[in-house]
């Protein structure tokens, strides 16, 4: 029997018998993805859209109930847009810019994210994770209809994995009994408690934070709270050592109470106890409780994400505290990074060692995320008396002293990392070029004559020509002119003090190399390097 470990929000892939279950010998697949969370489904989309056959195995028949992630960052939306479902997410999501920080009963200050103009997507949207996942699965359905070789098998639980040099043999439990399949490549996207990691006896070390958080998603009856992020340190209503209030679509609000380490989960989750906290906070407001949960967290990662033919991504590979919304957002960046590399290796265009750069680049990303979320956590839940004194001193000062406000850390919002020092990068050769687009950087969006720059980049390697001619050759060329952008965003982001520029852009929209003008030989060398051939 396969039991649900959680309730479903959307039943999108009910169990169906696969031909593999009736085969005499285990059927072999180029790629098997273990886990149908956001990371697993996005991986299937990336590979499937490249025409690479991929099978996703998930032990449930759809998407889990309960909104874990609510903040999705610009970069995740850009990646989803490349897959063809970013707009649907944006349409459903809630855009917010204003945040308020309180200490006790005082407002310490407020901040405006002041989003930079000239991007297709906002800095952030709030969207319940089940919706985010549903848009990905709906895009899979559409892609399948267009011929993308993707299969999602619900109620397929991987119970055993035998790893060899050439791939893996998986034993899969189903309601109709077990079967086995083989994979040339196995992607471990089976979440923070990754059974695959366990089966392979791999490490997952890091720091445990001794605190728990009670989440309540509520629907307010008279909903006149503004669309802002409110964060309390030591709130006067005493419902938690810190409290967060944040709006989601459908009139739902996320309330997150920091309730301490030594708590009895069952007691705390009883409705009257949850209501006691909410009532103290909200006063005389009517609401309905939609979902509650208690979570604790750790900041940790695997030492290596690539283990020969088995590659880990998302929460299975790294876990962070939720402060700063770096979980699902960084998982999407893993997929973005892995997809084109694995595709190139499977097609025989790149050596297998290209995948080692997935390891180094995404380990670098994970370390950056762990560092940021650990720092936020240390500010929100001070670990010593002196740390608590300094934290409160910062909050005291922030009310009247501008200098203290940047020190207040109630979660730094997730931004994609720059792969500085990656072996795929060619040293910067654009004199005066902006730092934000140096080799290794994710391309910032910008307005161009027919829409937005990122629409033209990605999928394969591209040459981006800014204010200069580049002959069409081995690579597709995207030509843009700063004349079509009177606000100057394109020039600011891609030229800096230079007057012309040529960029080599990777399929994941990261910069591989840049020069002031086109040189066929230099481009060819940079391309080889970015494909892991030198």
């Amino acid at each position: 029997m396969i039991h649900d470990r959680y309730q479903l929000a959307f039943k999108l892939y009910p169990y169906a018998r696969s031909a593999d279950q009736d085969a005499d010998a285990p059927v072999r697949h180029p790629v098997v993805v273990l886990g149908g969370g956001p990371v697993g489904i996005a991986t299937a989309l990336d590979l499937g859209l490249q025409g690479i056959p991929v099978v996703v195995l998930d032990d449930h028949e759809g998407i889990g109930q309960g909104s874990r992630a609510i903040c999705f960052a610009k970069r995740s939306l850009e990646i989803a847009h490349r897959y063809g479902c970013g707009q649907a997410m944006l349409d459903k999501g809630i855009i917010w810019n204003l945040g308020k920080v309180f200490h006790d009963d005082r407002k310490v200050f407020e901040f405006n994210l002041l989003p930079e103009e000239g991007h297709r997507f906002p800095a952030f949207i709030n969207l319940q994770q089940p919706y985010f996942e549903r848009f990905l699965v709906e895009r899979v359905r559409q892609a399948q209809a267009e011929g993308a070789p993707i299969e999602i098998r619900g109620r397929n639980r991987v119970d055993q994995v035998e790893v060899s040099d050439g791939g893996a043999l998986l034993t899969v439990a189903t309601p109709e009994g077990p079967y086995t399949i083989e994979a040339d490549w196995l992607i471990g996207a089976d979440g923070a408690s990754s059974p695959l990691r366990g089966m392979m006896g791999l490490d997952f070390d890091g720091r445990v934070f001794e605190d728990s958080f009670l989440i309540a998603d509520i629907r307010m009856v008279n909903d006149d709270f503004p669309t802002e992020r409110w964060f309390w340190f030591e709130p006067h209503f005493k419902s938690g050592a810190s409290t967060l209030l944040h709006r989601q679509p459908d009139g739902i609000w996320r309330v997150d109470f920091q309730i301490g380490w030594d708590v009895d989960r069952k007691t705390e989750l009883q409705e009257e106890n949850v209501r006691a906290r909410l009532d103290a906070m909200l006063g005389d407001v009517e609401y309905e409780i939609v979902w509650t949960s208690i979570y604790t967290f750790q900041c940790r990662r695997m030492k290596k994400f690539r283990h020969n033919r088995v590659i880990f991504a998302g929460d299975a590979a790294h876990q962070v505290s939720p402060f700063g919304a770096r979980g699902a957002n960084s998982g999407m960046q893993d997929v973005d990074n892995l997809g084109w590399k694995l595709g190139a290796v499977i097609r025989g265009e790149a050596p297998e060692t290209l995948l080692d750069s997935y390891d180094t680049e995404r380990v670098h990303g994970a370390d950056e995320n762990i560092l940021n979320s650990t720092r936020s956590t240390d500010f929100i839940t001070p670990k010593s008396k002196v740390s608590h004194t300094f934290r409160n001193a910062v909050l005291d000062l922030a009310e009247t002293n501008a200098f203290a406000r940047p020190l207040v850390n109630s979660g730094r919002l997730s931004v994609p990392c720059t792969y500085d020092g990656s072996t795929l990068n060619t040293p910067d050769a654009l004199e005066g070029g902006p730092a934000r687009t140096r080799p290794g950087s994710p391309c910032p969006d910008a307005p161009v004559s027919d829409g937005f720059l990122l629409d033209g980049l990605g999928h394969g390697f591209k040459l981006l020509a800014v204010n200069t001619e580049v002959p069409q050759g081995a690579l597709p060329v995207v030509s843009v002119s700063t004349e079509s952008d009177p606000e100057g965003a394109l020039a600011q982001r891609y030229l800096g003090d230079a007057t012309t520029a040529v960029y080599l852009i990777r399929p994941d929209q990261h910069v591989a190399a840049r020069w002031s003008s086109y040189d066929a030989q230099a481009v060819s060398e940079a391309l080889s390097r970015a494909m892991g051939k030198v």
Binding site: V386, T389, F390, N392, A393, D396, N401, F403, A404
Partner: protein
């Protein structure tokens, strides 16, 4: 090199007067309140200095490392 950035030579006019002011800033405060004032003071001064190298050298010197 970094130690050179942190001025550890006499730099305060009327040292006795300053010292008295520093102690007086804690007059009538409980130990806990004094801790708070000290923390605010450190933050205010750190921001005034601004230079991360100098701050790092000061942190090191304060610990006696």
């Amino acid at each position: 090199m970094t130690e050179m950035l942190l001025n550890t030579q006499p730099n305060i006019a009327d040292p006795d007067g300053f010292y008295a002011e520093l102690i007086a800033a804690h007059d009538g405060l409980s130990d806990e309140e004094s801790q708070t004032v000290n923390a605010r003071l450190i933050l205010l001064l750190a921001n005034h200095v601004g230079d991360r190298e100098v701050l790092r050298a000061a942190l090191k010197a304060a610990r006696g490392d």
